[in-house]
Symmetry: C2
Subunit: 293 residues, 2 copies
């Protein structure tokens, strides 16, 4: 198997190649002064089973274009098959029409990738994986929550309380508790109909004198996480951690969460950031190996 590192996921691609003992073919990337991207695959992949690694977190349009350019360049070399690994998949939200005339962005992206010769897409904690099943490409969605939980276990936090946001997120807390062997709970959330602002319900949590770890798919501006962390502190938790798969961390979210009482913000390398200390490479390596690649 050949690994092609997209410009947005070079570190993850290198970790993945090491893990798989696969050959990494370098991709030269530059931007023209006017802002257009230029890509060149610096090697041959003809007849090879090829995996392209490129996340599409913000700036998502730029990274999506780079993904399409790289895939197109790869396809022109006639590889055996192309799998794209898009750990953060942009435009997966708009997957069905709520109003007539809406652009189905997820479908457009899948169609464009299929045109570029992609047969399979692997992503991590996708917003809505169920909706991606009807598209022309096989989509596999992996969960990095167990990897995050293992990270805390390895640091000696076995038995910590695994917490999540919203009733829907309870499965996330249970996934983590399965590794951490502690209890699990969730904080109910409410989204304001007009403003869209999310508030948490301050229900009692059994975290007194315990370590509490919040697990979430994504931290964007971190507003909900800040409130949750502060609440857990008030309920008597000795230490509180904020863990997420996709650390988008818009508008100083990390600093804000730390100021609200968190000991640390921890994320994965699906989105390159200052807190991306857990790598999803083992997870993706396993998925690629299982498919017999």
């Amino acid at each position: 198997m050949i690994i092609l590192p997209g410009p947005a996921s070079r570190d993850l691609a290198t970790r993945l190649a090491l893990k798989l003992r696969a050959k990494l073919v370098p991709v030269h990337f530059k931007k023209f002064p006017d802002g257009e991207s230029y890509l060149r695959i610096e090697g041959t992949i003809k007849g090879e089973n090829t995996a392209i690694v490129q996340t599409t977190s913000p700036p998502q349009d730029e990274r999506m274009m780079q993904l399409l350019l790289l895939t197109s360049a790869a396809n022109d070399q006639n590889p055996e098959a192309i799998t794209v690994i898009v750990p953060y998949l942009a435009y997966s939200r708009q997957d069905r029409r709520f109003l007539p005339g809406e652009a189905l962005s997820a479908k457009m992206v899948m169609d464009a990738l299929a045109t570029c010769g992609v047969s399979k897409l692997i992503t991590v904690n996708c917003h809505n994986p169920a909706a991606l099943k009807s598209f022309p490409i096989l989509v596999q969605d992996l969960s990095a929550i167990p990897l995050l939980a293992k990270h805390f276990k390895d640091r000696g936090y076995e038995g910590a309380v695994s917490l999540s946001m919203g009733k829907k997120g309870l499965v996330t807390a249970l996934e983590a508790a399965d590794i951490l062997k502690g209890s699990s709970d969730f904080l109910p959330t409410k989204r304001h109909r007009r403003t869209g602002r999310v508030t948490i319900e301050k229900k009692p949590l059994k975290v007194e004198s315990k370590v509490a770890i919040f697990f979430d798919d994504i931290i964007s501006s971190g507003g909900t996480m800040m409130k949750a962390v502060a609440h857990a502190k008030r309920q008597g938790a000795t230490r509180v951690f904020a863990a997420c798969v996709h650390p988008l961390l818009i508008d100083n979210a990390e600093e804000k969460i730390l100021r609200s009482g968190a000991d640390e913000v921890v994320g994965t390398d699906t989105v390159p950031s200052s807190v991306s200390i857990v790598s999803v490479a083992p997870l993706i390596a396993k998925a690629l190996t299982r498919q017999g690649a």
Copy 2:
């Protein structure tokens, strides 16, 4: 015919609809807080001959994604045909491989548009139209130079000297002179092999006591235009104008060109800018009418 205005070319689309007396179906556009684009066609285009107007000047990746989203949304309604009008066509530079492994960005864009149901693309003063002929979509490249020349003629500058940059640009000066009925000439240019910086050769120009108008396809940072304008001033031109089809005007280019002695910088609405005072709507309308749409 139905006109769909892309978010980057709303004014041009409105002018085009007026010119053609065609129905303009509004397109609702918004950006999610994380930066993803959302588009909705606010009407029915089923069975209709549809023209989508969206330029892809910088930020080109964002605008290219919007073009693909809008085209995909239009295609989902089963129109009779989709023509896309992309007055400034990004990624048309990389149209053949100079080194193995390079991404052919022009091909990728055309393939993606074809997948979205586009049968024809109309653009204006494309970087390299000849190279676009081998792609799956019919591409028509129009020249807006006569429209720019007519603008100056209408303002009373008939007989002005039409000038262009580089020997290759001489055809541009001749196109303009055909309308302005004055003489034409060009300033030879040289591109430095390592730095890529363009210099002009200060050859004598017959512009003394005359109005001189420089015509160019594009003004980016305006470095070459500044030098050309200053040279024409020194050669005794009474007034000097800098006209271009695509006013990208990066890094205060307009101000710099004015400071070098130009009376005015004039551009078209292929790229929305402060100098986009000449509309290409009549040019595009004619092309759409001729094809029997």
